[in-house]
Point group: C2
Chain length 348, copies 2
């Protein structure tokens, strides 16, 4: 179920849905202003020969939750908003997963009210992916759902991220770290120091604990999961994005300075395109709302059709991997691991 | 006064000091283990024909504050540490500015205990520079001095940054923003929302207030100053650094795949070098401890000799610009601007 919410909605959503339907055994329900959706759908049909008839269907919803809407009140007041209707459809079994480029706070509110939480979890988190040196990704969470989490919530995010890295990225025993302003244990905040303690106490078969990570470790730190509060995580990933754009823009400026440079850049194009492909958010497709008893993918607000397609494919893969059962089991193991530690500390 | 503290100290410090002395009308006192410093100094003298005799002198100090030392207790217990001795020398007038690649918390402790604070300032901050699209820099503070600041401290950082941007980067009326996890005013934390209110209330001739900035706005957001807590600021700048390294490393990997790519990369080298020059921390030289009644520059822990030289030159420029007087005046103007706002709010 796709609820179009991107900045250029619903064009990219419709084209991404059609592309996913053409390429994969997936059915997509587009929720929103039916007339607008039909118009885009016809435009896509005209441009493409291959048919996906019946695989992309429409479902009308009269309202839209805007990016500037307050998540909680928008959820309550906009009962016929496309996002809420999409979550309702998944909750009632009419769909299997929600994909939207909308207000992530509102998606969280919809998820919390309309889907259940995984057993034993304090708060769901938004997991994003950051490319790494070894050609894989580092799972970063939280990216914005919780700006003021408890230490135990961060420690649970370590488990959510580890299960995600194992199931989706094939990491057998993921390396989990806490994002901090230095590697030394004296750095950080009360939140990171306590999360550090809880993760150290609960590491084991499910994950290896790598201590503190710094901002520069996303790329080359050999980490599979980095946990942080939603405020910092959101800023870190957007900063990463901005820096990548900076590299390309400066290179373009420099290249334009001479004909020889232009020629060289042309020859180097395949390599430059490969760099972009590995570092740009379009290719990743979306962040995942992790910890809900259901699949919800938040795609980038500036998503292209391709990014939307990748987000839909990502949701499909999450469903296939059946990570929800695994999350519940791993969280229970963590609780058992840190409870004795807390008890012995209370004694000492 | 340079207190060598970098990871490879004191090599880069000595060579940077010599380079600065060769190129500029600056005198450098190197503080630390005199035998080690003399050895490096002789090595540098052997390699360079031009003399700087008398311009680089040594001052012995028997202790070193390590990166993992607790700032406050290291300050108290290590009375003959090179960093503390360097601050003592500046406080007593034997030197004009401190430059070190050391533990930034310890530098802050030394600064707070041994130099005065600018009148009216709650807390000094560490100002870093982030390259921007227009070929200039955005001043980011705090980068690590205050992990849990008050909103009024962040608002004062706006003024510190604005004065720095005006004096050092030539921005007439700098655009100041608060770093947040979204542009909408509903985003952020209680800290950012209150800092937002105070900065909006005190904007005027000294600076223009640009509202919230996101992580991706450092580069292309048209901002001159971004304020944030030291935890987030440190992570954001290191993430930026890491992403730039990621771009270059992926490009190298891709280029190595074919001979044609290698050739093209060779031809493109001047442009690539220009990108590096604009984005790498070596060229910036250092962060500045802003708000002390004295000049203190913190260079990168992994500083090269060139970065150390640039940090020394930066300290020299800060002295020439006489920003301390200007800071005091601008802070007083800000206080006058927000006090009536606070008063009227208390009434309402």
């Amino acid at each position: 179920v796709v609820a179009p919410h991107g900045v250029d909605a619903p064009g990219p959503e419709v084209h991404g849905a059609c592309q996913a339907a053409r390429e994969r055994a997936v059915e997509v329900i587009l929720v929103g202003d039916e007339a607008r959706l039909r118009e885009e759908l016809e435009r896509d049909e005209a441009a493409h020969a291959r048919t996906y008839r019946g695989k992309v269907t429409l479902h009308h919803a009269s309202e839209v939750i805007a990016m500037e809407d307050h998540p909680g009140s928008a959820f309550k007041s906009k009962k016929d908003s496309s996002m809420r209707v999409a979550f309702d459809m998944v909750a009632s079994g009419e769909g299997d997963a929600v994909v939207s480029a909308g207000n992530s706070g509102a998606m969280l509110a919809c998820g919390l009210f309309l889907m259940k939480r995984v057993a034993g979890l304090e708060r769901p988190g938004i997991a994003g992916l950051c490319p790494t040196k070894d050609g894989s990704f580092c799972v970063v969470l939280d990216m914005g759902a919780n700006t003021d989490p408890k230490p135990s919530t961060l420690a649970q995010f370590g488990v959510l991220g580890a299960v995600y890295a194992r199931k989706m990225l094939g990491k057998l025993r993921p390396r989990v770290a806490v994002l901090s302003n230095g590697e030394e244990q004296t750095k950080g905040t009360p939140l990171t120091r306590e999360a550090h303690r809880l993760l150290a106490a609960s590491a084991g078969d499910d994950f290896e604990f790598a201590g503190y990570a710094e901002g520069r470790d996303f790329w080359g730190g050999g980490l599979d999961v980095v946990v942080t509060d939603g405020f910092t995580g959101n800023i870190a990933l957007k900063t990463y994005e901005g820096a990548v754009r900076a590299c390309f823009e400066i290179l373009e400026q420099e290249v334009r300075k001479s004909a020889a440079m232009k020629l060289a850049a042309l020859a180097l194009k395949p390599a430059l395109r490969a760099v972009k492909r590995r570092l740009e958010p379009d290719e990743v497709g979306g962040a995942v709302l992790l910890g809900l008893d259901g699949v919800a993918v938040i795609s980038h607000g500036r998503s292209s059709g391709k990014a939307m397609k990748n987000a839909i494919v990502g949701a499909e893969r999450l469903l296939e991997a059946r990570i929800l059962e695994e999350l519940t089991a791993a969280l229970a193991r963590q609780r058992r691991a840190w409870e004795p530690a807390a008890a012995s500390e209370a004694e000492g």
